[in-house]
């Protein structure tokens, strides 16, 4: 069916805004031309993609305002086709566009706000797991502790920020005027506790420990990393304290020895 394939390719080309001969294969009627008929599809294509981006990035939209957000969406649609069977994943490259293309790349907090929104969107329907219970820690033999490794809930994301993007995101979520932009390093986490997405800030110490644990580091390696912050005597207690916190907050799926 080379004719059918060629027809589909030129129809898709028309939707994607490319030069396309497809109009010659469509019938006009007295009331509506072939071009007008095709444009119903071309207009619908962009509208649907825009709806998908808008539903994913409501806070970013609010922060940028309608005009700039419209520009962002038009750029995005020109740059990215949809390879997915669901619109749920269409907007996945928005951070790349924001980081790499002017005028958006000149406003550095935009990437951070978008990353926060994506972390929440992804946490909503990421894979379930039966999270660990704190009592399971008692089953670990003392000699096994240094080699203990953790497997985290798939929704858990550590979000390092160079600006006060999280307070800005929070104000936008509550439809309040966001605070003035300031440069301040901080780390946040987003995860889903049972069916509800959560977030909180991390201390520098906990951020170091969690990054090490999420990268597959053992309990021994986490302790070693924490020596940057604590003395040798208190370090294991601190590490255990973090571990208990993560388990109680239902971030940990499994523990392996």
């Amino acid at each position: 069916m080379p004719e059918l394939r060629q027809l589909q390719q030129s129809f898709m080309g028309y939707l994607l805004g490319e030069a396309s001969p497809v109009v010659e294969q469509i019938e006009s009627s007295a009331d509506t031309s072939a071009q007008q008929r095709l444009d119903i599809y071309a207009t619908g294509y962009r509208l649907r993609l825009k709806e998908a981006i808008m539903s994913d990035y409501g806070r970013l939209h609010f922060y940028l305002g309608d005009e700039s957000f419209e520009l962002l969406m038009d750029r995005y649609i020109d740059m990215y086709h949809s390879p997915h069977t669901s619109l749920r994943y269409y907007s996945e490259h928005i951070e790349a566009l924001l980081a790499e293309h002017k005028p958006f790349s000149e406003v550095p907090e935009l990437v951070e706000i978008a990353r926060i929104e994506r972390a929440f969107n992804d946490s909503f329907d990421s894979a379930n797991c039966n999270t660990m219970k704190i009592e399971q820690l008692a089953q670990i033999q003392p000699e096994d502790w240094p080699e203990v490794r953790l497997q985290f809930h798939s929704s858990l994301k550590v979000l390092p920020c160079e600006y006060n993007s999280f307070p800005i995101w929070k104000a936008l979520s509550e439809e309040e005027t966001p605070p003035t932009l300031v440069k301040e390093n901080s780390s946040w986490i987003v995860w889903r506790k049972e069916l509800v997405s959560r977030y909180r800030t991390l201390s520098d110490e906990e951020a170091d420990a969690l990054n090490m644990a999420m990268a597959g580091g053992s309990f021994g390696e986490i302790c070693k990393k924490l020596l940057d912050h604590f003395d040798e005597e208190t370090t294991p207690q601190q590490a255990i304290f973090f571990l208990q916190t993560w388990i109680n907050e239902k971030m940990v799926c499994q523990l392996s020895v």
Binding site: M12, Q25, I26, D31, I40, A127, N128
Partner: protein, 288 residues
């Protein structure tokens, strides 16, 4: 004629999850949008399981792209089959259209040229899908806005021939017949009379909007009077067919949609005998 009759259903929409869970409204069944639940976990699947425990379901997809000249999407089919194992739907439907080519998805239901080449191509693909899923699937007619020069027959002849060759079934969208009849200048009743009675398993009803001389299938309004009239004609022709209303935009409160479904129930009661509209006792079970 042994067509299973589920009664009168609605499209399950996220806006109504809480209402449905809290009130367990009297609706015979729900149609779910398959792609909304082809996700790893979280709330969508949790709500789906809770609502499935109380209602029969059918699965309706938009991304099978049965008419595409790309290879069948194996990952999509695998996810669809897994979802079907979870939901145990009475049946699975998608559209007689193409949605993607060269891996680019339009996220739209794009029409096909109605000719022998396309019929062969699609009948063969439907057979592959049915073999993989281990069940017959339903093909739905579209609303469309273009006619191709390459078309050699009416849309209903095209649909009929494909489902006959593939031994598949039909989901007849009454609103789409109305919309396409307007846009392409044919008589909707000719469409209805042209479809094999025994292959039709389900009806869709929906609202639409006007754009210039064309009608667009927007699912953002109530079902209009001419579509209700056509629905009554369809019931006369096909007998009792499981019927549901699709609403995807400008979504009203659940009780408003339920009231609209009651209109369909009344029209069916006025058109068919009570005998024909009996819902079998075992309808809560998964198997059709």
């Amino acid at each position: 004629m042994t067509r299973p009759f589920l009664g009168f259903g609605l499209g399950l929409r996220t806006e109504h999850y809480q209402y449905v869970l809290d009130n367990k409204p009297a609706v015979d069944w729900f149609e779910i949008l398959s792609e909304n639940y082809m996700v790893p976990g979280g709330k969508p699947l949790a709500n789906l399981d809770l609502i499935r425990a109380d209602y029969p379901m059918v699965m309706h997809g938009v991304s099978l792209s049965i008419g595409s000249t790309d290879p069948l999407n194996k990952k999509y089919l695998k996810d669809l089959k897994e979802l079907a194992q979870r939901v145990e739907p009475h049946w699975i439907s998608d559209h007689l259209c193409w949605t993607s080519v060269d891996g680019n998805n339009s996220h739209d239901l794009l029409p096909l040229p109605y000719n022998e080449v396309t019929i062969n191509h699609i009948a063969d693909r439907i057979k592959q899908v049915q073999d993989y899923l281990g069940r017959q699937i339903l093909m739905e007619n579209l609303s469309s806005y273009v006619t191709y020069n390459d078309s050699e027959m009416s849309e209903w002849e095209f649909l009929n021939e494909i489902v006959k060759r593939a031994d598949s079934l039909v989901l007849l969208d009454i609103n789409n017949i109305f919309v396409s009849a307007h846009n392409h200048h044919f008589e909707p009743i000719d469409y209805i009379r042209g479809i094999d009675i025994d292959r039709v398993m389900q009806f869709h009803l929906a609202g639409h909007s006007y754009s210039g001389e064309m009608i667009i299938d927007t699912h953002d309004h109530d079902v209009c009077d001419p579509v209700w009239t056509l629905y009554a004609e369809a019931l006369k022709h096909f007998g009792a067919v499981s019927t549901m209303i699709e609403r995807d935009d400008n979504i009203p409160e659940f009780p408003m949609l339920r009231a609209e479904l009651a209109v369909a129930e009344r029209i069916a009661a006025d058109t068919l005998s009570a005998d024909m509209l009996q819902i079998p006792e075992n309808r809560l079970s998964g198997v059709a």
